[in-house]
């Protein structure tokens, strides 16, 4: 497209006044912070969560004589709640579209039922059982997606139907009983640990990959004649990632190592972050969630995008169900259910994913998952009356949604912005 690339103004027009100088307050919303540009909204929506997390940790630690921030509890936390965060990855994509998937709790239960019955009753090999369960759940998700994307039924209604249907099928398969799963490979998913050496190697690979990707990025930007971020900042980020990973690996290794379940969560998070932010299809998911009409006019096949997202959601339910069977070495009607749905939506929202679509990243599941896992684990460790668990979780969900809604309103945090602008 030579025309677009090469400027060729034919008439020397008088230099126009900069549009940015039009005095619109909306244009000045970000603040330079040590060379890092942070938007106020982002700052104001994530900082309370981090503060909350620190408060939660310190409180539980003080109440459990230092057991809470111990290697053993943190390791168990990772093992117990990774499946929820994996399930939340699917939720992130559904929420990015501004849709909802109510069926996830029972679709996960269906995966539990399928995995357990294929492995323990049909005596299929672990690989076949796992694959079948995930494929069937993906198809269930695609089926719902078809009704939503092509037939244009509201996702709320379709997944409410799915909610009942998957519940019915799962209950039928399990027939009210518990199925013990003795397959060592499936159990290994939920109960094994990476060896110390492997964990360190993986950590080094992750940091190296980050550095290499940044180097490639610098080169590409230099080649395109674009300015790049200060090198010092990138070095600092690489060091920060390295230190955080080292702390995590060292801590977990001091107990039994990095749980396989956590490694699975990390792998899925990285893969889906790449999918969402580096690929064309990911960009289009954000576009459809941001402005469906604009995406449609831009020639994006919005129907296919919406369909695909519900397929992802179903697939992650399949994976979460397999992980859950691995964790409990059994499947029963009480292994998963509608409470799980509320947990995973909380995870996504706490992690900064907006319920109205288009806003948030896959990384949300790590932050949100950590908050939810900390709550459950801490309250378990304290043997707190479960009534409080409901109340606390509900309150946290409302707080996270409140922050999102207020932040979205244009006048949201304007009083604070104005105050800091004056200072």
């Amino acid at each position: 497209m030579s025309e677009a690339k090469t400027p060729r103004p034919t008439v020397a027009a008088p230099a126009p006044a900069s549009i940015a100088a039009d005095g619109s307050p909306a244009a000045v919303r970000s603040t330079a912070f040590g060379g890092i540009t942070l938007s106020w909204d982002k700052l104001l929506t994530t900082v309370p969560i981090y503060i909350g997390l620190i408060v939660i940790w310190l409180y539980f630690d003080s109440q459990t004589a230092g057991k809470f921030i111990g290697a053993r509890n943190l390791s168990e936390m990772a093992q117990e709640f990774s499946y929820e965060a994996v399930l939340a990855i699917g939720v992130v994509f559904v929420l990015l579209l501004g849709e909802i998937d109510l069926s996830l709790g029972y679709l996960t239960l269906l995966s539990v039922a399928l995995t357990a019955s294929f492995s323990a009753l049909s005596q299929y090999s672990a690989g076949v059982s796992i694959l079948l369960a995930i494929v069937i759940c993906t198809l269930c998700g695609l089926l719902q997606g078809m009704l939503i994307a092509w037939v244009r039924m509201p996702s709320f209604v379709v997944t409410l139907g799915g909610f009942l249907i998957f519940e019915g099928i799962a209950y039928h398969i399990l027939a009210g009983s518990t199925i013990n799963v003795f397959d060592p490979f499936i159990s290994s998913i939920g109960t094994y640990y990476l060896s110390n050496t492997v964990s360190w190697i993986v950590a080094v690979i992750v940091v190296a990959a980050y550095v290499l990707a940044k180097v490639a990025n610098y080169r590409a930007r230099a080649k395109a004649g674009l300015p790049h971020a200060p090198v010092a900042r990138t070095v600092a980020a690489a060091i920060a990632i390295g230190v955080v990973l080292a702390i995590i690996v060292a801590t977990l290794n001091s107990y039994r190592g990095v749980p396989v379940a956590l490694a699975i969560l990390a792998a899925f998070t990285i893969v889906f972050w790449f999918f969402a932010s580096k690929l064309q299809i990911g960009r289009r998911i954000y576009a459809v969630g941001g402005n469906l009409e604009a995406a449609r006019r831009a020639g994006i096949n919005t129907t296919a995008v919406r369909w695909l997202v519900f397929g992802i959601s179903g697939m992650m339910a399949g994976v979460a169900g397999v992980m859950l069977v691995g964790y409990s070495a059994a499947g029963s009607t009480t292994t998963a259910g509608p409470d799980l749905l509320l947990d995973v939506i909380s995870i996504a929202v706490i992690g900064g994913v907006s319920l109205t679509g288009g806003k948030g990243t896959v990384w949300a599941v790590l932050l949100g998952g950590l908050v939810i896992a900390s709550l459950d684990s801490g309250l378990n460790l304290m043997a707190t009356d479960p009534y409080y668990v409901y109340v606390i979780k509900g309150a946290i969900l409302l707080a996270a949604i409140g922050i999102d809604v207020i932040g979205k309103r244009s006048s949201g945090f304007s009083w604070l912005r104005r105050r800091t602008a004056r200072a």
Binding site: M1, E3, A4, K5, P7, R8, P9, T10, V11, A13, A15, P16, A17, S18, I19, A20, A21, D22, G23, S24, A26, A27, R29, S30, S39, N217, A220, R221, K223, A224, G225, L226, K278, L279, Q280, R283, R284, Y286, A287, G289, G290, N291, E293, A294, A295, R297, A298, G299, I300, G357, G358, K359
Partner: protein
């Protein structure tokens, strides 16, 4: 860029690039267009005027491929066109900027400019193609500077931009793909004085670049500021076509309201 706009033999000054002849469009019993003629020429700004319900939007939507006309023909560079979808019109080189702008607020300027036409680069041959952010960013910056659109950063989210900036981005998005015809639907309707000025300057730059620009507007000041020609519609027909230099705002208003009839459409 993969989708090169088809090149037509550039129409001469005598023959307009875009010609609409006897266009008819009915919605049930309602005749929205009753055999409308319309034309737009290269390097000219053509204003499309008329009261609400005169048929301006229907005409534009037929040209943009959103509506399929029931009769008449649309010629581009002399060749008849049969648009079934907006994509067809875009491929033929007609871009439309609607009033609601069709921007994704949650994406940055670069992503919006390349929406639906993202550039990729091969990461793993035959398996994974990633977005080529550097090239898109470079070309976005170039396009904006060509049109002299100033924004703090092309990596700003569109939600953070002002109304005038958003309108400018929407226009830049349309011309990035080197169309021959650009249709702007009420580009200054929601803007203040300073921002209106920016957008009108931008319209003039589009003309300088040799595009056929069509502007739908209600604002007579805008018309006399930027337009070369004006077509006036009333009740689904074109009632007048002016060379702006030869008429006064009163003449135009009279045509719009129907207080004076123009039996012979004034041709320049």
């Amino acid at each position: 860029m993969q989708s090169e706009a088809p090149s037509y033999s550039r129409a001469t000054a005598e023959e307009p690039l875009l010609q609409v002849r006897g266009l008819v469009k009915n919605f049930g019993a309602v005749e929205a267009l009753r055999g409308v003629d319309f034309e737009a020429s290269v390097g000219q700004v053509t204003a499309l005027l008329g009261d609400n319900g005169a048929g301006k939007s229907t005409l534009i939507k037929c040209i943009a491929g959103t509506h399929v006309p029931d009769g008449g023909e649309i010629l581009l560079g002399g060749a008849p066109q049969h648009f079934r979808t907006p994509i067809d019109a875009t491929r033929a080189g007609i871009e439309t900027v609607y009033q609601d702008l069709a921007l994704c607020d949650n994406l940055d300027v670069v992503a919006n400019l390349f929406l639906g036409r993202e550039e990729g680069q091969t990461l793993i041959p035959g398996v994974v193609r990633t977005l080529d952010e550097e090239d898109m960013e470079k070309r976005a910056s170039e396009a904006l500077s060509t049109l002299r659109i100033n924004i703090p950063s092309v990596r700003n989210q569109v939600a953070q931009l002002s109304g005038g900036q958003r309108q400018s981005i929407a226009v830049a998005k349309a011309v990035l793909w080197s169309p021959q015809v650009v249709i702007l639907d009420e580009p200054t309707a929601a803007l203040g004085v300073a921002q209106t000025r920016q957008v009108l300057d931008l319209v003039l730059r589009l003309r300088e670049r040799g595009l056929a620009v069509i502007v739908i507007t209600h604002n007579m000041v805008d018309v006399f500021e930027v337009a070369d020609r004006a077509s006036v519609m009333r009740l689904g027909s074109r009632v007048a076509s002016f060379n702006i230099k030869e008429v006064t705002p009163d003449d135009v208003v009279a045509a719009i309201t129907g207080s004076r009839s123009f039996e012979t459409v004034a041709q320049a």
